[in-house]
Each structure stands twice: as structure tokens, then as C-alpha cells.
Symmetry: C2
Subunit: 137 residues, 2 copies
DNA sequence: GCTTGACCTGGAGCGCACTCCAGGTTCTAC
DNA sequence: GTAGAACCTGGAGTGCGCTCCAGGTCAAGC
């Protein structure tokens, strides 16, 4: 048999590796941690951060919340609920559903606005096709 | 025949009326004007602003640019081109097309993110349906 | 004519989400 | 063991897009 090997510790990531994988900056990672968006990350004996896979997954979820327009304050609320455990799943679900509905509204509004940009673009194209007419807008 | 009437001056709007119609605040309207986003608005002899229909239409266009994520700096560039007249139509068209393409990208990204929020929501729903399993995220 | 509310200006202040800095500690490679 | 890169902290600074303020002027109704 093979000799007993040390438990293959789940590999951890340095902050530089997390920067590379998430696109967040060092400062933003520290800011998110200070703000309570991520629970205290593991440390080496020398006090340097070592991120685990679960931290990375959570960060990626936070990034999605941010990219869909959630404020830091709301992310803090969400993170706090998460930290309180399973009992808060209904609250988290409610928050997420509300955020999802807001997002749907915003996407609809963007599409409407996109359509009117298209109209404006068409207007300019026509101006270029038949020049000479006084421009109105 | 009817007696000669004074030219029915195109009715103008006070700033309060524009606030009401656009949803922009007094301060934002003045800020936009100072920033050159709208060309100097007409004034009464007493120096109070009187907006014309064309001003309102332009403001509504600016609002669409803003709502689709254009920065004030880019709106300034656009407004400046507009102020320079017909010769800049090609530049304006190019700006608008680029902005439109960015917008399409952002809408696509939002839809992708929305889909992954939906996954997360489903995950929570399943957690609630079959409680007891240790929660992972 | 007077009151009251709407409007004017320049400039300071604010909230958000980072970003930068100084000064020190730790890690890695030689 | 040492050099240099990576990392640590608290706190100050930044850019954006407004928002507020003080101290005045103007306009409309009585």
C-alpha cells in the first residue's frame, strides 16, 4: 500500500490568484471583506489571506449581484442573512426574487430605450441619404 | 375676418413644468445646462428660464442616453457635435451606433446574469422543498 | 404695494464604490 | 541569510452625478 499521505488539503488561493480569476482588484477584495460581504477569509500563520473554492464561488455570485445592479448595502444584507444560516433561506429567496424582478424591469426599459436609439440612428441615416434638408435634431 | 392676432408664440415652459414633465430635478436641469448638455435655454427679461418644445425633446433624448448608461462626458461630446451643425451628423451617427452596440452587449450580459440568478433562485426553492440537507451556498 | 412662492447664481457637499498611499511584515528563491 | 516581490493595515483620496445651501431677484395674486 501507499504510505499514509497527508490529507490533500483543498488547495487555497492567494489574493493575487483571486484577483486574476475574478477580475476584482486587491483593494476591492479587501474592501468587500471589510464591508462584510465575504466572511473572514482564512489566513496563513503570517496573516496572509488564503481563499478556498467556496470563497471564490461566493465572490462570483457577488459579482453577478453587482453586475445586475445590486448595491453594496443590499449585498451586505444578503451576506448577513447567509451568515445566519439555513433559517434565512426564505428571506434570501425573497430578496433574490425581488432583485430578479427589478432586473427584468430594467432589462425591459433598456430594450425600449434601445428601440428609440434605433429610431434616432435611422433618422440620422436618412439625413445622410438625402442631405440638404434642415436638420431638426 | 378675424383681427390680426399676435403670432401665437410657441408656448414655453417654466423650469417647474420641465421638472414635472421630465422627472429631472431643478438642480439637474441647471447642472446639465452648465455642463453644456443643453444649449443655453431662452430667458425672460427677468432672467428666468423658458424651455421650448425642442428643448424638451432634446432633454428626453438625453434622458434616454443616460438611462442606457452613457456618461455625462460622452453626452457632452454628443451635444457639442450637435451644436456644430449638420456637418457632424456622421460623427453623431458613429457615436450612437457604438453606444447602441455597447448597450446590446450589456443587455446580453444582463440576460446571462439573470439566468444564473434564476438558477440560484431554483436552488433555494429546492432547499425549501426538501429541508434538512446541509446548505452549501 | 406687498406678500409669498418660484426662480436665480456660484460654490460647497454628498453617497457610492472603489482606489491609492505610507509604512510595515511575510514569503520565496537564491 | 538576504533580496525583492507579495502581502498586510488604517485611513485618506477620487470620480461620478448629482444635491444642497446661502443669499439674493422676480412674478402673480390680493
Amino acid at each position: 500500500m501507499t504510505s499514509e499521505q497527508p490529507l490533500p488539503q483543498e488547495p487555497t488561493l492567494t489574493i493575487a490568484q483571486v484577483v486574476e480569476r475574478t477580475g476584482l482588484s486587491h483593494d476591492t477584495l479587501r474592501y468587500y471583506e471589510k464591508a462584510g460581504l465575504i466572511q473572514r477569509v482564512g489566513r496563513t500563520t503570517g496573516n496572509q489571506r488564503r481563499y478556498e473554492a467556496a470563497d471564490l464561488a461566493w465572490l462570483e455570485f457577488l459579482i453577478r449581484l453587482r453586475e445586475t445592479g445590486m448595491s453594496i448595502a443590499d449585498m451586505q444584507r444578503f451576506a448577513e442573512l447567509r451568515a445566519r444560516g439555513d433559517a434565512t433561506v426564505p428571506d434570501r429567496l425573497a430578496m433574490l426574487r425581488e432583485h430578479r424582478a427589478d432586473l427584468a424591469d430594467r432589462i425591459r426599459a433598456l430594450r425600449r430605450n434601445a428601440a428609440s436609439l434605433d429610431d434616432k440612428i435611422d433618422h440620422y441615416v436618412r439625413l445622410l441619404d438625402q442631405p440638404g434638408s434642415d436638420e431638426l435634431s
